[in-house]
């Protein structure tokens, strides 16, 4: 079977035994990673879908051998500045063997939002990133559960600082974390029928159960969330219809036992990978996978979503806007640009998504809202700039316009382009002068910028 044939949508129903063509491999690598490098694509093409997903969910996070990230002649120190904290993470996203690990870490950082505002230090954020990573490295921690993640986030210095858990004290409850815990992190405000998932009283009672925690900075390099019984409200609380002298962990259990929780988390995770909302029966099926045995394991749910046929929907015409971080990494990988400069974090901010800098506690709105006239400009500029810090394409004397377009496309790893777009770019190439080496180089840069930074480069 030819490669061209493989990249077409298969006629029959999608089965886990499907052998992946280039389009399917690329789809998985965009949705579960940061776009395909040549090696990553080669690893998946021709493999069965099931095996590819098993590989993604069973391969530990190992950074491929690469020189340690350096700036200004010294190694990057994520604790030195916000820029370096972000660059350090971007470098891991770029060089990780298994992209799903960093992609899932990134998902958790958007879900369990913190921001470097409001007293959250670089140390807190860096430590928090490591915590989230444990719940994304599904090979190393196959039993990673949402429950344990919820416990540890609630006890983490970053979250205790960001949502005021450290000032939630018996007699003086602070409801900030308790409210967001239910609204944003675990349940949602209402169920799909519009019925509230909790009451204001539940918020207050949950806040009481979450009291008693403070940040121990005895060793400033390793801040620790500590339980202090003198600050804890030990009384009986009534949360979501249950009574007890709940504390952070037992109250978390009460919230996570609500049937709506599985529904909520299934939808959240689904929308990270798949554009079309899930059918009700699909949600029920995935929720059953997630709650089996009561442990709320992450790996089976992620694996089941990546094996849903909807992930390959519209395979001939990508239908999800790349979030800025995914787009940016994709450009860096396609151009083989260096990735250690301030302008790259500035570029992410202009595109609207700088890690650890969500607009508010609800995180990024995402979806269609990523694209505005100014962010489109920022995306285009980011591509241009990456192209110009990457190694220049070699000169091909006497190259025709058609060959120039082919080389630009191939040089970027053959990213998706609509047939209509290819025709327009071929026509543009034909308009461009190619008589001198400088003109031919300019033609390559122009075509590559239009491929990466133009409309078709924005979807995955």
């Amino acid at each position: 079977m030819s490669r061209r044939r493989l990249s077409r949508p298969p006629a029959g129903p999608l089965r886990p035994s499907l052998r992946l063509g280039e389009a399917h491999a690329d789809r998985l690598l965009w949705r579960a990673g940061f776009g395909p490098s040549a090696d990553e694509r080669k690893r998946l093409v021709g493999r069965r879908w099931l095996d590819a997903v098993n590989w993604l969910t069973r391969t530990p996070a190992v950074k491929t051998p690469a020189p340690p990230p350096m700036r200004l002649g010294v190694p990057i120190d994520p604790l030195a500045s916000e820029t370096e904290l972000v660059l350090d993470w971007l470098d891991r996203m770029r060089h990780t063997t298994n992209p799903l690990v960093e992609r899932l870490t990134f998902f958790w950082s958007k879900h369990w939002t913190i921001s470097l505002d409001d007293g959250v230090t670089l140390t807190f954020a860096h430590q928090y990133g490591k915590l989230l990573h444990r719940f994304a490295d599904l090979a190393t921690y196959p039993d990673a559960s949402f429950r344990e993640l919820a416990y540890l986030v609630g006890e983490s210095p970053a979250m205790l600082k960001y949502l005021d858990g450290e000032s939630n004290i018996v007699g003086r409850p602070n409801e900030n974390y308790g409210r967001e815990f239910m609204e944003l992190f675990c349940l949602g405000v209402t169920d799909p029928q519009g019925v509230p998932n909790y009451s204001e009283r539940d918020v207050g009672e949950l806040a009481r159960a979450f009291s008693g925690w403070r940040i121990d900075l005895t060793d400033p390099a390793t801040p620790v969330g500590r339980f202090d019984p003198t600050r804890f409200d030990a009384g009986v609380k009534e949360i979501l219809g249950q009574s007890g002298a709940f504390d952070l962990r037992t109250a978390t259990d009460v919230v996570l036992a609500r049937p709506i929780h599985a529904d909520f988390i299934v939808r959240q995770l689904w929308s990270e990978f798949i554009f079309q909302p899930p059918a009700e029966e699909t949600v029920a099926k995935l929720a059953a996978t997630y709650t089996a045995g009561g442990r709320l394991l992450i790996r089976p749910l992620v694996r089941a979503i990546l094996l849903r046929p909807e992930i390959f929907e519209s395979i001939g015409e990508p239908n999800m806007i790349k979030p800025p971080v995914v787009y940016g990494l994709g450009v860096v990988k396609a151009t083989r640009a260096s990735l250690l400069d301030v302008w790259q974090t500035v570029g992410l901010r202009r595109m609207g998504q700088l890690p650890f800098n969500p607009p508010n506690v609800a995180g990024w709105e995402g979806g269609a809202s990523w694209l505005t006239t100014t962010s489109a400009q920022a995306r285009f500029d980011f591509a241009i700039r990456c192209l110009h810090v990457a190694p220049a394409p070699p000169d091909e004397a006497g190259e025709t316009a058609a060959a120039a377009f082919r080389r630009a496309h191939t040089g970027l790893g053959r990213p998706w382009l609509a047939e209509g777009s290819k025709a327009i770019l071929r026509a543009a190439a034909a308009q461009m002068a190619g008589g001198t080496p400088a003109q031919r180089l300019g033609r390559q840069y122009a075509l590559r910028a239009l491929i990466l930074g133009g409309p078709d480069g924005q979807v995955m």
């Binding site: 200004l72 002649g73 694209l371 400009q377 308009q431 409309p455 078709d456």
Partner: protein
């Protein structure tokens, strides 16, 4: 890090030019209408958010300050300022890295011979430029023993700049403060005592207007004391982030990266990357290509691709509508592919809109010429000279040149003796310049004496930079220099008045 180590100047420029710990409060859209000029009799009620934005957003301003202001109240303030009539403004143009004062304003005569012995390879020879070796053609009008590097001088005066009416010599004119043609004042050997040769410490001092680190900048403190509490456009950094000079204790200020959005230029006149020396893309209109790409058909159910394509289409439309802003004012003639030109053009648009802007900061350049100084310094100096000339013409075309002065400065000068890599290391006593139709030009402070260097081989500082700030505060912007700059009492005043 070692003061004198050779470093990557591009990275350093970025590092020096920004404040990473000043967090923005948010962004605000700048309506194209506001920048093109409000219609007569407008007020905030008629210019509702929706109405203002209907004609397109020219750019986003990032807002800083202590309190989040509602968008409407910001525009109410800006419109009120616009209606109040002309206000004086200063542009602070920072040459990052330490500009070589002695390679810019060059001694002639005996001092030149002495400089040549200190700098056999780096000094500028007397006479016209030969090949790539930029000389110094002759003395500035009114001076006998100081001239400018030819790369900053018009061909009419023997220099290398061939664009009509451009060059620092043109701004200098007769050099006689009594004459209105003298629009450039020069302050050689301006710095402070004792000089600190770390980029980071020294630029902090210049930004703070004090010889110690401070959490606010001198321009920011002036705004805190004498500025508005409601209009962030009173202080604008033309950058992705706020200049340290502009940091306030509470007053709102803003940063604007570019106006208008530069468009999908692959390389173009507004200085988009890759900038000078980059490849050209002849024969293609990127906007037309982008518009065609945005019109490619798609499947009906693909709402995200629809959003992408329609947004790219809208972006090309908005950019087209804003073409009047993108175009330099008639006669401005900025150099092509110049990042500095792009920044100054943006500054001119902001100042020309008269939205109450009093202070603008521009950070630019990679003047840390430890190695291969001549080529890099020549290129930047020429860009500086042509851009400053074009900026004056631009301000003039916008009718605000009488109200704007531009202060050009760097965190220090360079060592008199060259180093082993055809460069110079960090030195004391750089060159400041003040440009504007309202400026009384000419030589404004004592030049250095190369026969009388300090123990490290640097020129002795003749002028405290804060005395120039003080003149701007007391005689141009209005205010008490001592209230703005701590420890100001010890700084001697300039010997003459700077403004007409």
């Amino acid at each position: 890090m070692d003061d004198d180590a050779v470093r990557c100047t591009e990275c350093e420029e970025i590092e020096l030019a920004r404040v990473r710990d000043q967090r923005p409060l948010g962004t605000m859209p700048l309506p194209a209408e506001a920048l093109l000029g409000f219609p007569q009799g407008s007020d905030a009620r008629t210019l509702s958010r929706r109405r203002l934005l209907r004609n397109g957003v020219a750019a986003l301003a990032t807002v800083y300050g202590s309190t989040r202001l509602p968008w409407e109240s910001i525009w109410e303030a800006a419109i009120a300022e616009a209606a109040a009539g002309p206000q004086r403004a200063v542009v602070l143009l920072y040459l990052a890295g330490g500009n070589d004062g002695l390679g810019t304003m060059v001694p002639l005569g005996a001092q030149h011979s002495l400089l040549a012995t200190h700098r056999p390879d780096v000094h500028r020879p007397l006479g016209p430029t030969v090949g790539t070796r930029v000389g110094v053609a002759g003395p500035l009008a009114g001076l006998s023993d100081w001239g400018l590097a030819n790369c900053a001088v018009s061909a009419a005066n023997g220099g290398d700049i061939t664009v009509a009416n451009q060059g620092l010599d043109v701004l200098w004119g007769s050099g006689n403060p009594a004459n209105p043609d003298a629009r450039l004042a020069l302050f050689p050997a301006a710095d402070y005592q004792p000089p600190n040769l770390s980029h980071f410490s020294s630029s902090d001092f210049w930004f703070a207007g004090a010889l110690k680190p401070m959490s606010t900048g001198w321009a920011g403190r002036w705004l805190d004391l004498y500025g508005s509490q409601t209009n962030p456009l009173q202080g604008v950094s033309i950058d992705e982030a706020l200049s340290k000079a502009m940091r306030t204790a509470g007053a709102p200020v803003a940063s604007i990266a570019s106006i208008p959005s530069v468009g999908f230029f692959l390389a173009g006149p507004t200085g988009t990357y890759p900038g000078p020396g980059g490849p050209e893309y002849a024969g293609i209109d990127p906007a037309a290509t982008m518009r065609a790409l945005s019109g490619v058909p798609r499947r009906a159910s693909n709402t995200h691709l629809d959003r992408v394509r329609s947004t790219y289409g809208l972006a090309t439309d908005v950019i087209g509508q804003l073409a009047p802003l993108a175009a330099a004012a008639a006669g401005a003639n900025y150099p092509a592919n110049s990042p500095l030109a792009a920044k100054l053009q943006t500054a001119a648009v902001v100042l020309g809109a008269r939205l109450g802007t009093r202070i603008v900061t521009v950070h630019w350049g990679a003047f840390d010429t430890h190695a291969g100084q001549n080529v890099r310094h020549d290129r930047q100096l020429k860009e500086l000279a042509t851009c400053l000339s074009a900026f004056q013409a631009d301000l003039s075309a916008r009718g605000v040149e009488q109200d704007v002065v531009t202060l050009v400065y760097s965190e220090f000068g360079r060592r008199v003796r060259e180093n082993a890599s055809n460069g110079t290391d960090h030195g004391a006593g750089g060159l400041m310049g003040l440009v504007g139709s309202a400026v009384r030009g000419g030589l404004a402070s004592a030049p250095p004496n190369i026969a009388d260097l300090d123990a490290r081989g640097n020129v002795k500082v003749e002028t405290d930079f804060r005395s120039v700030y003080a003149a701007i505060i007391s005689d141009w912007l209005g205010g008490d220099p001592a209230a703005v700059m701590p420890d100001f009492a010890s700084v001697p005043a300039l010997g003459r008045s700077m403004f007409r």
